[in-house]
Symmetry: C2
Subunit: 486 residues, 2 copies
């Protein structure tokens, strides 16, 4: 076994490591005799055949279309959420999955209600805005106050008491890019902004939408109130509206805004994680989990968040199920409930499957939209590295040839990390993703079928290898099992 021999701890960059690995092995993967590899030739050949099968056209787009056309918006606990669970159960059964079931989740329930807003001074202008998920309502007649603009949480800290009684306007611009890094840098004001403003006595919060478009379609997303602080209403302005507010504030006259939200949280309601399996041929008790989330925000139809993810993992598993010989381990598709505003589905899965977490040999989540694969990110024990590099080489023709360590997995996988389960995800081209993410514009027309097929190709090839290799990936080392920031 070559596995483990190639690790070069001093070389941090994944591409450099990969090059060094190739050099150690004597040449790059494709030109070496098979015996020098961790991956048996027949496994590689089957993975490549899955990749080619999916690349030539899969049913993934059909699944997104069915979910978005026949169900549409499916916020946790809503009638659409129940319809999505029914659709997923029926589809998994119809496609021949085994042990198809709905596992109960008590989902957080929040209802948007009506929402509107306007600038009332120095000029009167309507504003396109939407409540942040989890926000409390404004007073019945609306909340009107002067606006204080800040660029960040830190800038608010610097203003401190100047925010008292005001509406804090977090005007933090998200930069467009090919990955999620711009989102990561900007999104703190959405999650933490409302309580930070409440700390200084603010009456309400408006944020510039965390997005990269210029449409009057504001971006919702969950906020996180701190229990010890007053809960104040919070909404996101569409980006053109945020820029209008910015221009008016910078004219120097006091600017006042009035907004009305009637949103409310309600008692937890039953939803479900929907699960189906391709049973393993030799070790059915060992599991490769392919996850995505079935719920969506209410504004659009959840096509790219996360209809595409559901379609990608469903289709990848379906194609594996159609192989002449199923892989050694079980492929388990998990369509999680309530990812968007609560992660109750993820926690319920972790709780319900605690006893078998040790037998999860890999977990993968698809939750990055419709963009082409750009790489394979992973998090496992160090001995997994050469094998991951070989898998990435198989994925190279569909764009995912670069392996990058340190994957956190998707949000739904966070309860699995403490158990050390090796985590995987595909990088995807996200340059347009945040034009539509969490908006009314997240609809089926945004889906790019060829890119979706490329994702199916990569996931199917990866999952097959993970389920077929004789020895599972090394688990995440104890020291690395804590989720960053948790």
């Amino acid at each position: 076994m070559v596995r483990g021999a190639g690790r070069i701890p001093a070389i941090e960059d994944a591409r450099l490591r990969r090059v060094a690995l190739c050099l150690l092995l004597g040449a790059c993967a494709r030109s070496l005799p098979a015996s020098d590899f961790a991956l048996a030739p027949d496994i590689r050949a089957t993975a490549e055949s899955l990749r080619e099968r999916a690349s030539s056209g899969s049913e993934a787009t059909r699944w997104v279309r069915e979910l978005t056309d026949r169900v549409g918006p499916r916020l946790a606990g809503s009638p659409g959420d129940a319809a999505a669970v029914a659709w997923a159960l029926a589809t998994l059964k119809a496609q021949g999955f085994a042990r198809v079931r709905a596992e109960k989740v008590l989902a957080h329930v929040w209802k948007r209600g009506a929402e509107s807003g306007e600038i009332t001074a120095p000029y009167r202008q309507p504003l396109a805005l939407t409540a942040l998920g989890g926000s409390v309502a404004t007073p019945a007649g609306g909340l009107e106050a002067e606006v204080v603009e800040v660029a960040s949480l830190e800038a608010l800290d610097a203003k401190g008491e100047a925010a008292r009684g005001k509406i804090v306007f977090f005007n933090k611009k998200m930069e467009r890019g090919g990955d999620f890094s711009g989102y990561g840098r900007a999104v703190d004001v959405r999650g933490a902004g409302p309580s930070r403003a409440a700390k200084y006595g603010a009456a309400g919060v408006l944020i510039r939408s965390i997005g990269t478009d210029h449409n009057r379609t504001p971006h919702t997303g969950a906020l996180k109130y701190e229990e010890a602080l007053p809960k104040i209403p919070a909404a996101a302005l569409a980006i053109p509206d945020a820029e209008l507010l910015e221009r008016l504030v910078r004219e120097g006259k006091p600017v006042r805004v009035r907004f009305i939200l009637t949103c409310r949280s309600e008692a937890d309601t039953e939803s479900a994680n929907v699960i189906g399996e391709i049973p393993g041929r030799e070790k059915p008790e060992e599991i490769v989990l392919l996850g995505a989330h079935l719920d969506s925000w209410d504004l659009g139809t959840g096509a790219i968040d996360d209809g595409t993810g559901c379609a990608i993992v469903l289709e990848a598993a379906r194609l594996i199920g159609h192989l002449p010989r199923r892989p050694r381990r079980t492929i388990r598709v998990v369509l999680f409930a309530n990812e968007e505003n609560g992660l109750a589905g993820a926690r319920a899965y972790g709780d319900a499957h605690q006893s078998e977490l040790a037998r999860h040999v890999a977990a993968f989540e698809s939750d990055s939209g419709t963009g082409r694969p750009t790489g394979l990110s992973w998090n496992a024990g160090p001995s997994a590295e050469p094998l991951v590099a070989e898998i990435a080489a198989i994925l190279a023709p569909v764009g995912a040839g670069q392996a990058t360590g340190g994957a956190s997995g998707g949000a739904d996988l966070s309860p699995l990390r403490p158990a050390g389960i090796p985590l995987f995800a595909l990088g995807q081209d996200s340059s347009r993703y945040f034009d539509y993410h969490h908006t009314a514009n997240d609809t089926f027309d945004k889906v790019d079928p060829p890119s979706l097929d490329a994702n199916v190709a990569a996931v199917a090839a990866f999952a097959y290898v993970a389920a077929e290799i004789p020895h599972p990936f090394e688990k995440i080392p104890e020291a690395a099992r804590k989720t960053p920031g948790s």
Copy 2:
């Protein structure tokens, strides 16, 4: 005078004609001695200096910003409309225009009210839609009926009575292009569709928005009811929603939609055409009219329709007013009321100025958004052609070097055509214009300042020449004064 000598009636294409003209003259414009031209060298030099002055950066973007930030939506008869009139009067005065006045217009008034819709069968889905301008309301509880999809007015004629009691869904796709031709081919279903459907007993009309985007921001626009037919409610679906409806209808099961509109027409209300002038130095009674429309639809802030037009003509005239020597004739800026849903401003101008229409030597309208100039279209007597070609040559550095005959002028100029007033317009790159046109997305962030300056450059140079040449353009021949289709 060379004017008129170069006309080659057999050569229909404007570019070919121009080439032939150059050949007749012995060489292309720039390389000929000045005496061979209609245009005196000092006129050409001043026009070029205006072009360069505007190209280097004008105040046009400031005017759009003020109008959209401080006024915003300004549908005829609304408080925003009155605020726009006040803004225009104050701005023209502050910028030194002469005879600044508001000329009374009795504007058609229509109020949008609330609007919503949903597919009710075979699946329940909310729909993003907006009432067509002038539509009647639905019954108070909404209108629900089965949908009949047709691709055109003609396709509806072929279905005929199959539409009885149904909601007719005009699903006519507008193609993207650099000009207005795609709009022209698609828009008939908006204007004529409601009455055509009523003729066959339909209960209501939905159209695929006349636009080129994929946003959940439907495109409004005026319908035109035929007096003899029942008025039925009509709305435009956002394009993603139209495509959803198309997919569901084509699944073959009956599809039902319910929509609610509370829009209503009200009694005509006073609005105004706002006028300001740069008085002519020798023939102040002769007028070069530079027009745009001050009103806008209510969904956006009317930045590109027609804030940019207002800004372009205002700024072009302002720059002419700052010349060391004003031109021979008067430049009259007319910011028309109620273009979008009634043309009451245009008609009021024609009526109020009937006695001086003979002294209008040229009329130009800017109503094509923020795109770069692509050419100069014109409609005048044939002897104007060589002069127009010379003007176009001056505009070539800002993109408008191609002259095209047969201009209809903007909608606001239609009452001037029967008087034979020479009509002019700039072609503009419209490839993105119909992403935003008549939607909530028509906001200031869509404005491109360099393109706006290029338009100002072209309009200022054109208007100066029109106001300075010794002899006015030949009027439109009698036979060509009828507006096509009217």
